[in-house]
C-alpha cells in the first residue's frame, strides 16, 4: 500500500513561529470546534450494526445532541462514514466509491467487529476482513453489535481526535499531503485491489512455478517444522458421509405407487418419507402433484442443493412442497445429478417460487437448471471462481473441515488469519480459469455491468418517440433497507421491469454453518434476520430438537412463545415505521416504533444478555430463567402499553389521506399468484390466503392459545400495512395468555451440553416468522457438525415476486413495494 493515511493519528506539530500567529490561533479553534460538532454521518448501513446505528438516531440516544443530526443520503454532503456491519466483497467497490466521493475533511468510523476485522464472519469467502485494509479508519468501535451508547462513545472519541487536529497540520490544506482517491476494487475471480496487482502477479507466478515443478516429482518434502507440529495435534479426519435408514414409509410408498402408475414405472422411488424423482421426469411429476385435485401441492416452499461428495450421483436437489388448501406436512422431492456436469430441469414453469432458489443453487453448487429463464449468479458476481458451497471448495482463510480448530488449544499461539495469507487479506486467486486458460492479473476484463438506454420506441397515436432507460437503485440507497439493489427499466415514470440484485450482504452463513458444530450455529442464526433474533433461534432449535427427539419443559415452551411474540410485535411496529418512512412521512412513526422496541429490547437484554443478538434458546430449553419482576413488566407491556400504542398507531396512520392514496389499489397480488411465487407471512394473508404455520402445522404450544389469523382480501399495499398492525394485536393476545398461564419449573430439558451429537438423518422444520415462513433444512451425518445446514429465508423467497409487483407502477412506488415486503438483508443474502 502506498497511499498515505490522510489522518495521521499524531497531529503534526505547529512550527514555533506560526504558534505566535495571532490570526490563525483563534481561527483554528473556531474551525476545529465547528468540525467537531457538525459531523454529518452518511445514511448508509450494511448489516446488523446499522439497526443499532438507527437506534442511535432515535429518542433514547439522540445523536442530534452531538451535532451529528443529519444523516445525509449523499456522500457529497457527509463527512463521517460509519461503516456499520459486515463488509462483503461484493459491496466493497461501492463503499470505496462512496468514500472517494466524500469531500475532505472526511472521517471513517468502523462500527462493530465485522467492519473492524471481519468479525464472526471473518472466515467467510465473501467477507472483507476489515474495512481498514482499504480505507483509513479513524475510530474502531468493537462489539457484536456495540450497544448504541458505545457508538456514541466512539463518536466522542472521534470528536476528541478532531480536537487534536490543527488547521495548520491537516492534510487537506496541504499540497504535499493531499489525499488521493482510493482505487476502487474490481470484481475478478475474487475481489481485487488494484494496488495489489503486482503482488498477485508475483504470487501466481510462484504458484505456477511450484505447480510445474511438482508435476514431474511426486512429492517434495515441504517445510519440515510443519510436519513436526502436525504430529503433536490430533489428526484431522475428513467428515463422514451421512447415511441413514431409507426404508420407505407407507405414505411415501403409496404416493410413489400412484405417481408411478400415472406417469410411468420408475419415475419416482420412495426413500423414507421422501420421493426420489428421476431427473428426466421431474416436470411431469411436479405437474401431476400440483394439478391433481386431491393432491393440490401448490406451494413450493424450499429448494436446496446438497453435496454428497463421494456418492455416484454427487448432487441432490431437495424440494419441499406444501398444499395451502389443506395445511399439514410437505411432500419432499429429490432429484439427483452427477458431479461432472450436474443438470436438472428447472421447475420455474411449475412453481415460480423456484426462481431465485434455483439461481442460488447454481451460484453456490454449480448445478445447472435447464430451461431456467434467467440462470445467473445471484449472491456472488459473474466470474467468481468456483461454487463455494461444494464441500471440496475451500476459502482463503480455510483451516479445517470442522470446528473446533486444532490450532486453538492446547498450543494456541495466536496467529491472525490474515498473516497466513500471501495477500494479507481474505482473498485467493486461481491460476487458471476452469477451461484451463491461465489467468493474468494484469490483462483481463473486470466483470462489470453496464447500464444504459435500452431502446427507442414510438408512442402510439402521437408520433412521439420515447426511450426506455435503466435506473439503478442501491445498493447503498437509504430506502432499500440495507444493501439491496434493484435495476429498474423505466418508460417515463412507469416501471417496465424491476430486477433485484442481491448478495451485497452474503456473508456465507451456510458455509460457516456446516463447519460449526450444532450449538455454534445458534448465535449465528441471530444474525440472519437481525430484527428477530428470537424467532430465528426458535426455528433452529425446533429443527435440531426434531432430529434429536428432545423434550422441552413447559416453562421453557412458554418463554419461547413469549419471546417470539414480543419479537413479532416490535417487528411489525418497526415495519410500520420504516414503511411510512418510505412514503416520505419522515420520522415520526419510526421514532414511536423504536421507543417500544427499546422497551422490549430491555426485556430481551435482561433475559438473554444482549439486545439484538439474543441466542436465548438452547436445544431442549432456554438459556436463562426470567424473574417475577421481569414477567410483571412484560405483563404491563402486553396488557396496557402495547395495546395502547397499537391504538395510537392506527389513529396516527390508518386514515391518513396521503398513506391511503399512495397505497390503496397499488401493486395488487392475487391469491393464486401469491401462492405460486412462494410468498408467505403477512403478505400472503393480505392477499386473502389463510395460511399461517402456527395454525396449519402447529409447532411448540401454539395450539393452546386462542388467537385469530387476520385476513384481508385486497392484496394491495394498504392491506399489507394494515395486516401487520392486526397481527401485532393478535400477538399481544397470545402474549397475554402465555404470561397468565406460564408455569414454574425447569427451563432446560435433558442435559445441557456444549457439544451435541445429532442422529444421522435429515429434517425440515419451519415456523411462522414475522416475515413469513422461516425453515431450516438440516442433514446430519451423526457427528457433532451438520453435513448440510440450509436456511429457507422468508424475505429471500418473498422477493421472487418483486418484479411482478412493481410492473406498471411508478418509480416512487417501487420503494414502498419493497418496504411492504419487509426484507432484512441479513436473511435475504445470508
Amino acid at each position: 500500500m502506498t497511499t498515505a493515511s490522510p489522518h495521521p493519528s499524531q497531529p503534526p506539530t505547529v512550527p514555533e513561529d506560526l504558534k505566535r500567529n495571532v490570526l490563525v490561533a483563534p481561527l483554528d479553534a473556531i474551525s476545529t470546534w465547528g468540525r467537531m460538532y457538525s459531523l454529518w454521518p452518511m445514511a448508509f448501513g450494511l448489516a446488523c450494526c446499522a439497526i443499532e446505528m438507527m437506534a442511535v438516531q432515535t429518542a433514547r440516544y439522540d445523536m442530534s445532541r452531538f451535532g451529528a443530526e443529519l444523516m445525509r443520503p449523499s456522500p457529497r454532503q457527509a463527512d463521517l462514514l460509519i461503516v456499520a456491519g459486515t463488509v462483503t466483497k461484493k459491496m466493497l467497490p461501492q463503499i470505496v466509491r462512496l468514500y472517494d466521493q466524500m469531500a475532505e475533511p472526511k472521517y471513517v468510523l468502523a462500527m462493530g467487529a465485522c467492519a473492524t476485522a471481519g468479525g464472526p464472519f471473518k472466515e467467510g469467502y465473501n467477507v472483507v476482513s476489515g474495512i481498514d485494509k482499504y480505507l483509513p479508519v479513524d475510530v474502531y468501535v468493537p462489539g457484536c453489535p456495540p450497544p448504541p451508547q458505545a457508538l456514541l462513545q466512539g463518536l466522542i472519541k472521534l470528536q476528541e481526535k478532531i480536537k487534536s487536529q490543527s488547521l495548520l497540520g491537516v492534510p487537506w490544506y496541504r499540497k504535499d499531503q493531499r489525499n488521493e482517491a482510493v482505487p476502487v476494487p474490481l470484481y475478478g475471480p475474487d475481489i481485487i485491489d488494484p494496488r495489489q496487482i503486482p503482488i498477485i502477479k508475483a504470487e501466481l507466478d510462484r504458484q505456477r512455478l511450484e505447480r510445474d515443478r511438482q508435476e514431474p516429482e511426486e512429492e517434495t518434502g515441504s517445510a519440515g517444522d510443519e510436519t513436526q507440529e502436525k504430529a503433536t495435534r490430533r489428526a484431522v479426519k475428513p467428515p463422514k458421509l451421512p447415511t441413514w435408514d431409507l426404508t420407505p414409509e407407507p405414505e411415501a410408498q403409496a404416493l410413489a405407487d400412484r405417481i408411478n402408475q400415472e406417469i410411468g414405472e420408475g419415475s419416482v422411488s420412495p426413500e423414507k418419507d421422501t420421493l426420489v424423482v428421476d431427473a428426466q421426469r421431474l416436470i411431469p411429476v411436479a405437474t401431476y402433484l400440483r394439478d391433481t385435485e386431491d393432491l393440490a401441492y401448490d406451494y413450493l416452499s424450499n429448494v436446496t442443493g446438497v453435496d454428497y461428495l463421494d456418492r455416484d450421483l454427487r448432487f441432490e436437489v431437495v424440494y419441499h412442497v406444501y398444499a395451502t388448501s389443506r395445511g399439514g406436512g410437505p411432500v419432499v422431492l429429490k432429484a439427483r445429478a452427477d458431479g461432472q456436469n450436474p443438470k436438472i430441469p428447472s421447475l420455474v414453469s411449475i412453481w415460480p417460487s423456484a426462481d431465485f432458489q434455483e439461481r442460488e443453487i447454481w451460484d453456490l453448487y454449480g448445478i445447472r437448471f435447464t430451461d431456467h429463464p434467467n440462470l445467473k449468479r445471484i449472491l456472488l458476481w459473474e466470474g467468481f471462481h468456483g461454487h463455494p458451497m461444494r464441500r471440496d471448495w475451500n476459502e482463503a482463510y480455510y483451516e479445517e473441515p470442522t470446528k473446533p480448530f486444532n490450532s486453538r488449544w492446547p498450543a494456541g499461539h495466536h496467529q491472525l488469519a490474515d498473516s497466513r495469507n500471501p495477500y494479507n487479506r481474505n482473498v485467493a486467486y486461481p491460476t487458471q480459469y476452469p477451461d484451463g486458460e491461465e489467468w493474468d492479473p494484469e490483462n483481463w476484463d473486470p466483470m462489470e455491468e453496464r447500464l444504459s438506454v435500452v431502446d427507442v420506441e414510438e408512442v402510439p397515436h402521437t408520433g412521439m418517440r420515447t426511450q426506455r432507460i435503466m435506473v439503478n437503485v442501491g445498493p447503498q440507497h437509504p430506502s432499500t433497507h440495507g444493501v439491496f439493489r434493484m435495476v429498474l427499466t423505466l418508460n417515463g415514470e412507469t416501471v417496465v421491469n424491476a430486477e433485484p440484485v442481491l448478495g451485497y450482504l452474503h456473508r456465507n452463513h451456510e458455509k460457516i454453518g456446516e463447519r460449526n458444530n450444532w450449538l455454534m450455529n445458534m448465535p449465528y442464526t441471530d444474525r440472519l434476520d437481525y430484527m428477530n433474533a428470537m424467532g430465528n433461534n426458535f426455528g433452529y432449535a425446533l429443527a435440531v430438537e426434531k432430529m434429536m427427539g428432545t423434550e422441552v419443559p413447559e416453562r421453557a415452551e412458554y418463554l419461547r412463545v413469549i419471546m417470539a411474540e414480543l419479537n413479532r410485535v416490535f417487528n411489525h411496529m418497526s415495519f410500520a415505521g420504516f414503511y411510512t418512512n418510505e412514503l416520505g412521512a419522515a420520522f415520526t412513526p419510526f421514532l414511536y416504533a423504536f421507543r417500544e422496541r427499546e422497551l422490549i429490547l430491555d426485556l430481551f437484554e435482561e433475559a438473554s444478555g444482549s439486545r439484538m443478538m439474543c441466542s436465548y434458546l438452547r436445544f431442549g430449553g432456554v438459556a436463562r430463567d426470567v424473574s417475577e419482576d421481569w414477567l410483571d413488566r412484560a405483563r404491563y407491556l402486553a396488557q396496557e402499553r402495547l395495546p395502547r400504542k397499537l391504538d395510537e398507531f392506527e389513529r396516527l396512520l390508518n386514515q391518513n389521506e396521503i398513506l391511503v392514496s399512495r397505497t390503496k389499489g397499488v401493486s395488487v397480488i392475487s391469491p393464486q399468484a401469491a401462492i405460486a411465487y412462494g410468498i408467505t407471512g403477512p403478505m400472503l394473508r393480505a392477499s386473502g390466503v389463510p395460511y399461517d404455520i402456527r395454525r396449519v402445522e402447529p409447532y411448540s404450544i401454539y395450539d393452546r392459545f386462542d388467537f385469530k389469523i387476520p385476513l384481508l382480501s385486497n392484496g394491495d399495499l394498504y392491506d399489507r400495512y394494515l395486516i401487520r398492525i392486526l397481527e401485532a394485536r393478535e400477538a399481544v393476545k397470545i402474549l397475554n395468555q402465555a404470561l397468565d398461564q406460564i408455569p414454574g419449573g425447569p427451563i432446560q430439558g435433558g442435559k445441557k451440553a456444549w457439544q451435541t451429537r445429532v442422529p444421522a438423518g435429515e429434517t425440515y422444520a419451519r415456523i411462522e416468522h414475522p416475515k413469513g415462513e422461516l425453515g431450516y433444512y438440516l442433514v446430519s451425518n451423526g457427528t457433532a457438525n451438520p453435513w448440510r445446514y440450509r436456511v429457507r429465508a422468508p424475505s429471500f423467497v418473498n422477493l421472487t415476486a418483486f418484479g411482478e409487483m412493481c410492473k406498471g407502477h411508478k418509480v416512487a412506488d417501487t420503494v414502498v413495494i419493497l418496504g411492504a415486503v419487509d426484507i432484512v438483508l441479513g436473511e435475504v443474502d445470508r
Binding site: Y61, R65, M522, G609, L637
Partner: protein, 196 residues
C-alpha cells in the same frame, strides 16, 4: 372529510408533545435526577425518553454480555493472583467464531500443567455470545460489562492477552452479584459432596 385522517394523526403527535412536559413538571426541578430517569426509562414512562449520555448512562442488566475476561482470586495474605483457568480448553472448543487461543503451561519436564501459559481473545472476531462463560466448568471466564472500548487502533490493542484479560473476582462479584453467589454456592456444595 379530506384532511380528517391527517388531523387525527397530528393529534397523536400533539399528545406526545404534551406528555413530554407532564413528567418534567412532575419531577420539577430535578428532571435529570436518578429517580426521574429510572421512571422515564421504564415501561411506565410516557414523557421524554432521552438518556443524556455521557452525563447519564443507561445501566446494563446483570446478564449483559460483552467481551469476556478471566477471573483471578486474590490470596488474602500474600495478595498473589490465583488464576482460576485450568486451560482445559472447553471455551476454545465451544467458541462459535473460534476467537480464543490458549497455550497450556508445561512444567520443567514438559508435562502439561493445568494453567494457561498464554491466553488470547481476538475481540474483533468475538461475537459476544457468552458460550465460553456459560460452559466454563470452573467459572473462570466471565462476560464483562464494560462496553466503552472505542479506540483509534486495532491490530495491537484488540488482541487481548492474558495480562489484559485478567480481572479480580471482586470485580466479577460487583458486576454479576447474583451469578457470582449462585456459582460460589454451587462450588461449595460440590466440595462438600467430594469430602463426604
Amino acid at each position: 372529510m379530506l384532511g380528517l385522517g391527517i388531523a387525527k394523526g397530528l393529534s397523536v403527535t400533539l399528545k406526545h408533545f404534551v406528555e413530554t412536559y407532564i413528567e418534567d413538571l412532575r419531577y420539577f426541578p430535578r428532571r435529570y435526577s436518578e429517580e426521574a430517569m429510572e421512571f422515564r426509562q421504564s415501561v411506565k414512562g410516557r414523557g421524554l425518553f432521552t438518556v443524556q449520555y455521557p452525563e447519564q448512562e443507561l445501566p446494563v442488566p446483570e446478564s449483559f454480555r460483552y467481551i469476556p475476561f478471566l477471573v483471578y482470586d486474590e490470596d488474602g495474605e500474600s495478595g498473589e493472583k490465583k488464576i482460576r483457568c485450568t486451560a482445559c480448553g472447553i471455551c476454545t472448543k465451544v467458541c462459535p467464531p473460534q476467537c480464543i487461543w490458549i497455550v497450556r503451561a508445561k512444567d520443567e519436564k514438559g508435562k502439561p500443567v493445568s494453567q494457561p501459559a498464554e491466553f488470547y481473545i481476538d475481540i474483533d472476531i468475538c461475537m459476544n455470545c457468552g458460550f465460553c462463560a456459560e460452559f466454563c466448568p470452573f467459572d473462570s471466564i466471565v462476560m464483562d460489562h464494560n462496553w466503552k472500548m472505542a479506540d483509534y487502533e486495532r491490530l495491537e490493542s484488540h488482541i487481548f492477552d492474558l495480562h489484559t484479560l485478567l480481572k479480580p473476582a471482586s470485580y466479577y462479584q460487583q458486576i454479576r452479584p447474583v451469578q457470582y453467589a449462585e456459582r460460589q454456592a454451587g462450588k461449595k456444595k460440590e466440595r462438600k459432596g467430594k469430602e463426604v
